[in-house]
Symmetry: C2
Subunit: 302 residues, 2 copies
């Protein structure tokens, strides 16, 4: 097994942030990420990069952070770990395009280490189309499955189910979007080294740019009207509900006094709440809501 | 001490809902509340009343509910009570006016009873102006203090501080608005009967309509522009953050599988998230953000 340390991981994540920002800027054709460097009083800091009012992207962030220091008691309890100090680094991405026909996307890859000796990777990638396009969802899941299968034939099924359970808006009884994969606490086992886990996480990180720039390209020029924008605002409201009520990353950030503007870059530029919104029966809005269920076989659906 | 039972309390709350809806409709001059009756599978139900796209009010709700049944274990732990069954009834109000010069208002009055014998009242009223007007905030607090003082000279100071601590957006280090009062677990003591607690809660419920219709009347015709609407959308975003991240009533509702659309009637019609919004120094937006602090002496401020 090759050696693996936090500096190698941190360095790889920083370059991932660079590469993804370049790919998005190139495909967008107009937007430029603005960078903000910040320091965490307790140790570490981050490199927040935000794109706003670009050509295709209305608001998005590609954030790198590397934080360390004393592990807050509340977090130690939640994670069920012992250890006085922690080290965490990762990249988090959320993209909110102008067009309701270009999907919202989210990805996170992260590494966590506690002074008692535990080390693990976590992360995930999931797609939130305003209108579900089964062919797009199929392609998305195929690419992810292909990447997972290169590493372990149990990964896709396990992590796809985990994403369905995680990206779920319980009070709406609907999923956030068409899912993807979610995984956490991937440490070394008898069979799998930490190095192999890192290789998997790297491959997940690497598929983000080709997949999303393809979706940007393919859908950016499709015309839409006021009705689609209204539905986008409602679906963005559901995105807000998920992130503020359920998302563990958001809670972790707010609980550890992270930089609020970096954490909440995931919020959409705007959102609507119509009381008791119900789509017309037979409409494409109704079709999308019917798709927002767990355990859809996206690879077999289209 | 006069007798007091749950039916008397429930009846009073239902009439409070009626009276407040009538007062708002009369002042608005156009809007009519739409009513939805709902039943809770575990016991009880509610009467949701929503006003949308009226003359002054863009979106608002005046909700009555009376729920009972088996107390969920999670809630019993949170409340630190023993008792297999519970009974809860109350009225909750949130008003989002069109004009950024008419403040958002919230009020809740509630009664809770556990089969082990504990009984208490809770509630509160707080004001969230888009632009803080010290004279308006002063009047609001004067009216509340006057009402509190009729019952107990410690109430206003204690419950005003409680509201400052409760209606606080920790990750923004700012209060939701200019506060008001918040109180909970007001049960019978050696000095104060449950009947006296109810009389206090009734008086709080009764001041809602005269105070808020006055603010509607006084501010509805003041002209405003695009800048004020943009700031309103940002301030509405903060309202969303408070309700979804911190509000115990929202959490209680979602955790007990309450009716989602009734719980989330508190959401504004729309909201915005601009990355790293900072008001111009010396602007009226900056003046408002400077006011959003705990422990402001609103009665002495203007």
């Amino acid at each position: 097994m090759k050696t693996l340390d936090r500096f190698v991981i941190t360095d790889w994540f920083m370059h991932l942030q660079d590469r993804i920002c370049q790919a998005i800027e190139k495909t967008d054709g107009k937007g430029v990420f603005e960078e903000e460097l910040w320091q965490r009083p307790g140790g570490g800091g981050g490199r927040t990069r935000i794109i706003q009012n670009a050509n295709i992207i209305e608001k998005g962030g590609v954030n790198f952070s590397q934080v360390h220091g004393i592990l807050p008691e509340k977090i130690a309890q939640q994670l069920q770990v012992k250890g006085h100090d922690f080290f965490a680094t990762g990249v988090s991405i959320v993209m909110h395009p102008f067009s309701p026909l270009v999907p919202i996307i989210h990805m996170n890859v992260r590494y966590f280490e506690v002074s008692s000796g535990e080390q693990w990777f976590g992360g995930g990638i999931d797609l939130t189309p305003i209108y579900v396009d089964p062919a797009q969802a199929q392609y998305f899941h195929q690419q992810i499955k292909h990447t997972c299968d290169l590493h372990d034939h149990t990964y896709y099924e396990t992590f796809k189910k985990w994403a369905d359970d995680y990206f779920f808006i319980k009070h709406r009884n609907e999923t956030r979007g068409v899912g993807g994969v979610f995984f956490d606490r991937l440490g070394a086992t008898a069979d799998i080294s930490l190095y192999q886990r890192f290789e998997f996480v790297k491959d997940i990180g690497n598929i983000f740019a080709p997949i999303y720039t393809k979706f940007m390209e393919e859908n950016k020029d499709i015309s839409y009207g006021k009705g689609e924008k209204q539905f986008q605002a409602i679906r963005r409201g559901r995105y807000v509900e998920f992130n503020l009520v359920y998302d563990k990353g958001t809670k972790f950030g707010l609980d550890t006094d992270g930089r609020t503007e970096s954490i909440l870059m995931s919020m959409p530029p705007d959102a609507n709440w119509l009381y008791n919104y119900q789509p017309l029966p037979g409409s494409k809005e109704a079709a999308t809501l019917a798709y927002l269920r767990k355990d859809v076989d996206w690879i077999g659906v289209a």
